[in-house]
């Protein structure tokens, strides 16, 4: 028995051993080889997969998120080009590599990703297979991996060494279209000969260079050749630029399938030949996926495909390439057939502009105009004279502009009579226009024909579903549509119709997901088909085409701008001060931007108005710090200052209006008042609007150069003093001291430089800066060493392109290794760094040098810009190249001069840049300090930020830096300065609790920087998980509170948890606006500001924090996220607008403020992040900013006098400021005192400065004064202003007088507010009231229908709203009571039983 058992045990043990040995043999000799690929392009993977003929080699794609699984494979191949992984993911791969995983990284652009553990003797062979590519090489590579790296012996064939392909830089696909071998050429001459030999040569035909690596240009080349062009396919332009080979082509256009920049050399080449650079896109995904994608393109791919090519001046980011799936599931890259045809036509139309005589070219010009008699508008521009100058320039250049009126005034009259637009309420006026305005009538068959050609069925159905059958209710009669347009020879002027539809005017300006109405579509189709435009021009900043639905970028045939622009070359005159929205026009409407100047800058000149205060401040300083300090006297003066500031309203602006007037201000409070007074005196304000084509007046040029140069020179002087160790601490805090010590001398320096009429030389620079020539030389040397590597990304991209060519050359063979080597060099091989003191000195000197040298350059650029703008526009209409330029107003970013250039944005992936991070940290600290001062040293629990695109671009992400720092995280930079990751700042280093944030993004920022929004979302989660022992974690607390509120609101706990960390919100349905402005100004349709807050939270409640949940609508999430908010922050980066002059500020910041108040029940602190002065970024309280702006602009006689020298646009700008004041009064009543309205009344109704305000308004723009008076009366009616009966009577009399004299204008306030009309009528004698009502009725004819519910953008609610009553007795109390009753009752029974003896 024992023997039997022993045998059995032995058998089992032997069997197990045998199985183990067999398994071991299998594992070591025959098991499948698992090959993982990280960051390889789908196409390459498909090719490798197709080449794999071994069942024992298995291929896997590893995503960065799966980095922890890297160790599961036998080898990991990494494509380092554009690889984005977090530190944690990198560490996971490194860990697997350290444990023996063979890893091969190629094309490494970030040295940190250069992980290589493949045996150094095997790596070159493996790289050779990869770099040469092709089926045979890929097959052998897999065999090589299995046999030599995985060391398998079974089913492991002997690999053949890599076959090296010779790839020439100039090539041509097989001309017979058979898909055979392509031809390669070593010279242009050889290529030309080959073209001749193959019948592809066309004498005098346009020559087009096709380059770039992101597409397969075979079909494109064939299509371009078939339409009469000679095509030069070139793999990499860089070597040919260097050798001059490219010059021998003398091309007419360059088409670049871009991934990164072509470089400054190419910009010079394009300028030299004056040819356009067109950059079609590859969506890098299945065409069907891309068509369904709301975003279109995002992140690093967006940067490389769209953003960086724009720096080269690339135009038309039109999707041409996409992936299609084969039957076997593999993807292939192809030109999308229907888009190829349109793209070819587009290219040919640009080329046609070069050939067609000016006299035959047809140009369609769209302009923007207020409703009714209101003026034409464009940011910073007086439109009618500008348009007139442009038309004259066209005529002078040979264009047919027959019928051009003899003067701008005549053109204005013509536009008012035949080129008007009307609010949907002005049915009477619209009807009269159709009778007498000679519109273009479009009938149904014509429209159907155009639509059939331009729009896919789906879009046609959408329009019909929304607007009914053609022609719809608006501007139509007898089944036809009336289009306002003015034909002047071969030029047609068209007002851009409203992009919203019918009664729903609130959604018009910045678009929605809804299709545009018929008249909008018809205007563009008429320009293309009816008029036959060769080019389309949008005149001034900005219209609505670029905000029509849907995708953000990389548009498809289902996106409206793509369809409406079609194949027509498109040019857009755009202000330099609004690059954020400008890039939307570039990317979404395929426009070549033509930048134009802002209005000139001038000093506020208000010092005289505040002389008494200035004198007292000066006496106070004397009393404290003078030769004989006298504290008692200082106190008396402080009391006098208090009296003065209260009287002038300054105390209210600064929050220093105390009840006890007998207590003097403290020294710190007097300092604040002093700084406020200095700010008023030194504030830069814009003068009358710019007229395109007309240089600023000499005085305006001088004042603008002062505005651009004085502070840089002053800060340069300060910087040098500081670098030299002089005592300058606290100087910047006291503006009066700073102005005395630095600004005043700087002004004198600028004056001297302006007077000399030539650039400053080194001797002058040394004299001004107080440095020696040797110090200057050393500073320049240090500054040069501090420069970032020159455009390393584009260099890398070029190298990647070069990698494909001439593999037989040394350059080709070793390129991959070379790229890695460059990366390594960047990490390690730098020279010895200069000391911090040297760096500081060099920076100060550099700043000073630039400031001094630029005085001359600025003046020159300002003088030349107007003609450059016209010249550039004409050149673009001739098919020429428009040079690229950054954006920003000239004071904030002088590099934007000269104008007449194509604006580009910043690479979002590199933000926040290091300097932006420094600014952001300083501003966040500043915010906390201000908050502490106001709130007994406590910190805010949550701060809400608004993100705008122009601010983001111009500050390179400083507000994002603020957000990070509030959360207590910091960016992690790679060696290229890109921010691909973030990390926690340790709590001890932060020294305070982490502060929660909420971010509302504008649609524009969302579209250009989605990856940064994702990073913020990640930062929030990271901060929430931080374990900070010493401090409370407000982020975690905030998330908990948000979750609680959400469940209370009726959201399920699962959804509430998911949504509780949502912190990035924006417009629903991909909207660009908030939909609030229209609602605020339609003030008869709401009774409480709470209604506005609700609409705001609804309209801005879409989540944009991650790709997965993109555009998810979660109204309660936004509302709940706003809980615990203690402060709101709005960026301000431009000198051309302020809180009062730009409506979007009250729209966004005011809307957010109101919503926070609605949610938390308290008014949050409101701050502006002021980036205008790059040397002195700071936070400013909203009320203070409004105080400064109102005192230096609409209440400043110098400013008003300057504006009265302008035209209709300047008058409209004043009216807009008054309307915005009303907006602020609604959104944040504390920000606007009655004093402001009283002042408006005195200045514009009583004309207290005797400037002839009424006469001027009546002459140039009576509609503006109608608007001003209507807004004032509405403020009284809504109870926002406690006006006296006399004031009301005065304003009503003036308003109705204007209406009687000029007819209603007819904006919403004037014509579409029945409650206001009743109120005005009630303030008038009966006869006048009747007359007034009659005038309004005539315009409206039919009564308008209310559409207050139209203010809520369409969106189904996530959950039905719950209403809950709170009872005073809690459920727990009820439960306890019942249990007590039971037990008591039971005990009673028991006792009773006992007593009964049962």
């Amino acid at each position: 028995m024992i023997q039997k058992t022993a045998k059995l045990i032995t058998f089992i043990v032997v069997s197990i051993l045998a199985v183990l040995i067999l398994w071991g043999l299998w594992a070591f000799m025959a098991a499948p080889t698992r090959v993982a690929f990280l960051n390889y392009q789908v196409i390459t993977l498909g090719q490798i997969s197709k080449a794999n003929d071994s069942r024992m080699v298995r291929l896997y794609e590893l995503t960065p998120e799966e980095a922890s699984k890297a160790g599961h494979y036998d080898i990991l191949l990494i494509n380092g080009m554009g690889l984005r992984i977090t530190e944690e993911q990198r560490a996971q791969i490194q860990k697997a590599a350290d444990r023996g995983l063979p890893v091969l990284s190629t094309m490494v652009t970030n040295p940190a990703n250069d992980i290589n553990t493949v045996d150094s003797t095997l790596a070159p062979e493996l790289q050779a297979y990869l770099s040469n590519g092709g089926p045979a090489n890929y097959r052998n590579m897999l065999a090589f991996i299995r046999r030599r790296i995985d060391r398998k012996v079974i089913a492991a064939p002997q690999p053949v060494p890599a076959e090296e392909y010779t790839v020439e830089n100039i090539y041509h696909p097989s001309p017979d279209g058979s898909g055979g071998e392509e031809e390669g050429f070593r010279s242009i001459a050889a290529y030309n000969q080959w073209l001749r030999d193959n019948g592809l040569w066309k004498e005098d035909a346009p020559r087009i260079i096709v380059t770039g690596q992101m597409g397969d240009p075979t079909d494109l080349i064939a299509s371009l050749e078939a339409t009469g062009n000679v095509v030069y396919p070139i793999r990499s332009t860089m070597p040919m630029l260097r050798t001059g080979q490219l010059d021998s082509i003398a091309p007419s256009a360059v088409i670049n399938m871009a991934h990164g920049r072509l470089g400054d050399g190419m910009v010079r080449f394009l300028e030299k030949y004056n040819i356009p650079l067109i950059s079609p896109l590859n969506v890098n995904s299945l065409v069907s996926d891309w068509e369904a994608d709301e975003m279109g393109m995002a992140g690093g791919f967006l940067s490389q495909s769209v953003v960086t090519p724009e720096i080269d001046g690339a135009i038309r980011p039109y999707v041409l390439f996409g992936h299609y799936e084969d039957e076997d599931g593999l993807q292939r890259l192809e030109a999308i057939p229907e888009r190829l045809q349109e793209f070819t036509e587009t290219v040919n139309r640009y080329l046609e502009l070069r050939r067609k005589p000016e006299s035959q070219k047809k140009i369609a010009i769209f302009y923007y105009k207020g409703a009714g008699q209101n003026a034409l508008t464009a940011a910073g521009m007086e439109v009618v004279p500008s348009l007139y100058n442009f038309l004259v320039a066209l005529r002078d250049a040979g264009y047919n502009v027959d019928g051009l009126p003899s003067s701008p005034e005549a053109l204005a009259a013509l536009i008012q009579s035949r080129g008007a637009v009307f609010g949907s309420y002005a049915e009477g006026a619209a009807s009269r226009f159709m009778d007498g305005g000679a519109p273009e009538w479009v009938d149904a068959p014509t429209f159907a024909r155009w639509a059939q050609d331009a729009l896919p069925q789906r879009l046609r159905d959408e329009v019909e579903a929304l607007n009914g059958e053609f022609p719809g209710p608006y501007m139509s009669r007898d089944g036809r549509l009336a289009l306002a347009r003015i034909e002047l020879g071969n030029v047609v002027l068209l007002p851009q119709p409203a992009a919203g539809g019918g009664q729903n005017d609130f959604q018009m300006v910045h678009g929605t997901h809804a299709a545009p109405p018929y008249n909008y579509i018809a205007a563009y189709l008429y320009a293309r088909y009816g008029f036959g435009a060769d080019a389309m021009v949008h005149f001034g900043t900005h219209g609505s085409l670029e905000f029509t639905p849907k995708k953000q970028v990389a548009l498809s045939q289902y996106d409206w701008p793509d369809r409406l622009v079609g194949t027509v070359p498109h040019f857009y005159l755009y202000t330099i001060s609004n690059v954020g929205e400008g890039v939307m026009a570039k990317r979404r409407a395929y426009a070549t931007l033509q930048s134009y100047l802002t209005a000139p800058f001038m000093e506020s000149n208000v010092r005289g108005l505040y002389r008494d205060l200035s004198d007292e401040l000066s006496h106070y300083e004397d009393a404290l710090y003078g030769e004989s300090p006298d504290a008692a006297r200082a106190e008396d003066i402080a009391l006098r200052i208090k009296e003065l500031t209260i009287e002038m309203g300054i105390a209210s602006d600064l929050g220093l209006d105390t009840l006890d007037k007998g207590v003097p201000y403290t020294e710190e409070e007097v300092l604040r008042i002093g700084n406020f007074a200095e700010e008023l005196a030194s504030e830069k304000v814009t003068g009358r609007l710019y007229v395109m084509g007309e240089p600023y007046l000499p005085a305006q040029i001088e004042s603008t150069v002062y505005a651009m140069s004085t502070e840089p020179v002053a800060y340069g002087l300060l910087g040098i003093d500081r670098a030299k160790g002089k005592d300058v601490d606290g100087v910047e805090k006291q503006l009066s001291v700073f102005n005395r010590r630095y600004v005043a001398p700087a002004k004198q320096i600028v004056a001297r430089l302006l007077a000399q009429g030539r650039p400053a030389d080194d001797r002058q620079l040394c004299s001004i800066a107080g440095i020696t020539p040797e110090e200057l030389a050393r500073a320049r040397e240090v500054a040069a060493s501090l420069q970032a590597p020159p455009d390393m990304m584009s260099m890398m991209a070029q190298m990647a392109g070069m990698q494909q060519l001439r593999k037989d050359s040394a350059a080709g063979r070793g390129m991959s290794e070379m790229m890695s080597a460059v990366g390594r060099q960047m990490m390690g091989g730098r020279k010895a760094q200069p000391t911090q003191a040297e760096k500081d000195f060099a920076r100060a000197v550099t700043e000073m040098e630039q400031a001094v040298l630029n005085v001359y350059n600025y003046r020159k650029a300002l003088l030349e810009s107007p003609s450059a703008e016209i010249g550039s526009m004409l050149n673009a209409l001739d098919g020429g190249y428009t040079s690229p330029s950054p954006g920003g107003d000239p004071v904030a970013n002088p590099n934007t001069l000269p104008t007449g250039r194509n604006l580009f944005a910043v690479n979002a992936e590199a933000t926040p840049t290091r300097s932006a991070w420094e600014k952001g940290v300083a501003l966040a600290e500043n915010t906390l300090r201000l908050y502490r001062q106001r709130h007994c040293d406590s910190l805010p629990r949550k701060v809400s930020y608004t993100l705008w695109s122009s601010e983001f671009i111009e500050t390179e992400g400083a507000t994002i830096a603020q957000i990070f720092y509030m959360l207590g995280v910091e960016p992690v930079y790679d060696s290229f300065g890109r921010v691909t990751d973030i990390r926690l700042i340790p709590s001890e280093k932060l020294g305070r609790p982490r502060i929660d944030v909420v971010v509302q993004t504008s649609g524009q920022l969302r579209d250009i920087a989605a990856s940064r929004l994702f990073l913020i979302d990640r930062a929030v989660r990271m901060a929430a998980e931080a374990q900070d022992g010493e401090y409370v974690n407000n982020v975690a607390e905030g998330i908990r509170e948000t979750e609680r509120i959400l469940t209370e609101k009726g959201v399920t706990p699962a959804d509430a948890r998911r949504m509780s960390s949502y912190r990035v919100f924006g417009g629903v349905n991909g909207n660009y606006g908030t939909g609030i402005q229209g609602m605020v100004t339609a003030s008869d349709r709401w009774t409480s500001s709470s209604e506005i807050a609700q609409v705001y939270m609804n309209n801005m409640g879409a989540y944009y924090g991650s790709e997965e949940g993109w555009e998810e609508f979660s109204r309660y999430a936004f509302e709940a996220a706003l809980s615990r908010t203690d402060a709101v922050v709005q960026p301000r980066q431009s000198n051309t607008w302020g809180a009062l002059s730009l409506d979007h500020v009250y729209e966004f910041m005011g809307g957010l403020n109101l919503s926070v108040k609605e949610v938390t029940g308290k008014d949050p602190d409101a701050y502006l992040s002021d980036y205008r002065n790059r040397n002195r970024v700071r936070m400013q309280e909203l009320k203070e900013a409004i105080g400064v702006e109102s005192r230096t602009t609409i209440f400043n006689p110098s400013y008003i006098a300057e504006k009265l020298n302008g035209g209709a646009g300047d008058a409209a700008a004043i009216a807009e400021t008054v309307t915005n004041t009303f907006g602020w009064n609604v959104m944040k009543p504390e920000a606007v005192d009655d004093r402001v309205w009283d002042e408006i009344y005195e200045v514009y109704v009583q004309d207290k400065f005797d400037l002839g305000v009424h006469e001027h308004f009546k002459e140039v723009n009576p509609a503006a004064l109608e608007e001003v008076t209507a807004v004032m009366l509405e403020s009284v009616r809504k109870g926002l202003w406690d006006a006296t009966p006399e004031q009301v009577a005065d304003i009503a009399e003036m308003h109705t007088g204007l209406i009687e004299e000029f007819a209603p204008s007819c904006s919403g306030f004037v014509c579409d507010n029945p409650a206001l009309q009743d109120y005005i009528a009630s303030a008038l004698p009966e006869a006048s009231a009747s007359e007034y009502r009659g005038a309004i009725r005539q315009i409206r004819e039919a009564s308008v229908s209310d559409a207050s519910d139209g203010m809520v953008l369409r969106k189904d609610r996530l959950q039905s709203e719950t209403e809950k009553e709170t009872t005073l007795v809690s459920n727990i109390a009820v439960a306890v009571l019942i249990i007590a009753l039971f037990i008591g009752g039971g005990l009673l029974i028991r006792r009773r039983r006992k007593s009964s003896g049962i």
Binding site: A1036, I1039, R1040, E1041, E1043, R1044, T1047, E1048, K1049, G1050, V1051, T1052, P1053, A1054, D1055, A1056, R1057, S1060, Q1359, S1360, E1361, T1362, K1364, E1365, T1366, T1367, L1368, V1369, N1371, V1374, A1375, I1378, I1379, L1381, F1382, I1383, G1385, G1386, L1387, L1388, I1389, R1390, R1392, R1393, S1396, I1398
Partner: protein, 237 residues
């Protein structure tokens, strides 16, 4: 309305725990474990419930009528258990089907408890935002286990005699039935609710209840079980 539902839930819990007092210890533990497991495992479903959904259910008369049927059925079964128990105590030899019927009814713990446990879990999840859902659920499960096991023991300790428990069980089930009827007709009345407690009225009601309890405890005929048992005892003697 919500308070009525809470009363109903408390009654269901009380009935459940009270009924456990007839079970052997291992049976109590098994029931407690089942209830705890149910509580612990239901969190993925619980987190998908929303307050507004629950409110909607409570305001849905059709659903409440269905619920009323379930409650009534359970009350009938539990009252049947009481009657059979009495029958068993008072009769001599019974038919085996009656005994089996008694056994089944004694074993039957009730289904309403699961609804109550689920509501309890949902309430807890609402009450602890930010805390891990499984943690809340399994903590609740532990509490449920302890309360059921401990509650059964406590009931036996407080009311050692089966008769008292039986009588109380009968009464609470009857009360459950009544409350269920009141709760489920809610929504069909047109009386506006009040958001504040009329303390004087409440005191009056409580006074009336106390008076009734006192009166009841002195009027023997008001207690059918007692009279029946006493008669039965006398017969045995």
């Amino acid at each position: 309305m919500y308070s009525l539902v809470v009363i109903l839930m408390v009654l269901v819990c009380f009935n459940f725990v009270l009924k456990q007092s007839w079970h052997k210890w291992w049976s109590v533990l098994a029931h407690a474990a089942s209830a705890a497991l149910f509580t612990g495992l239901m969190w993925p479903v619980a987190v998908r419930q929303s307050r507004s959904q629950i409110e909607a259910w409570l305001a849905n008369p059709d659903l409440m009528l269905d619920t009323s049927v379930v409650i009534t059925l359970e009350v009938i079964l539990q009252i049947s258990f009481c009657l059979l128990s009495v029958h068993l105590l008072s009769s001599g030899k019974l038919k085996s089907s009656t005994v089996w019927g008694y056994r089944i009814l004694r074993w039957f713990p009730g289904v309403l408890i699961f609804g109550v446990l689920f509501s309890f879990l949902v309430y807890l999840i609402f009450a602890f935002p930010g805390v891990s859902f499984p943690l809340v659920a399994w903590s609740a499960a532990a509490v449920v286990f302890v309360v059921i096991a401990g509650g059964a023991w406590l009931m036996r300790w407080i009311f050692p005699d089966k008769e008292s428990r039986l009588e109380m069980f009968f009464l609470t089930n009857a009360l459950t039935g009544i409350v269920a009827v009141i709760a489920t007709v809610n929504g069909q009345t047109a009386v506006a609710g009040v958001s504040e407690v009329d303390w004087r009225a409440l005191a009056g009601v409580l006074g009336l209840i106390a008076a009734g309890v006192l009166a009841g405890s002195f009027v023997r005929t008001a207690r059918p079980f007692r009279r029946f048992l006493k008669t039965n005892n006398n017969l045995k003697k």
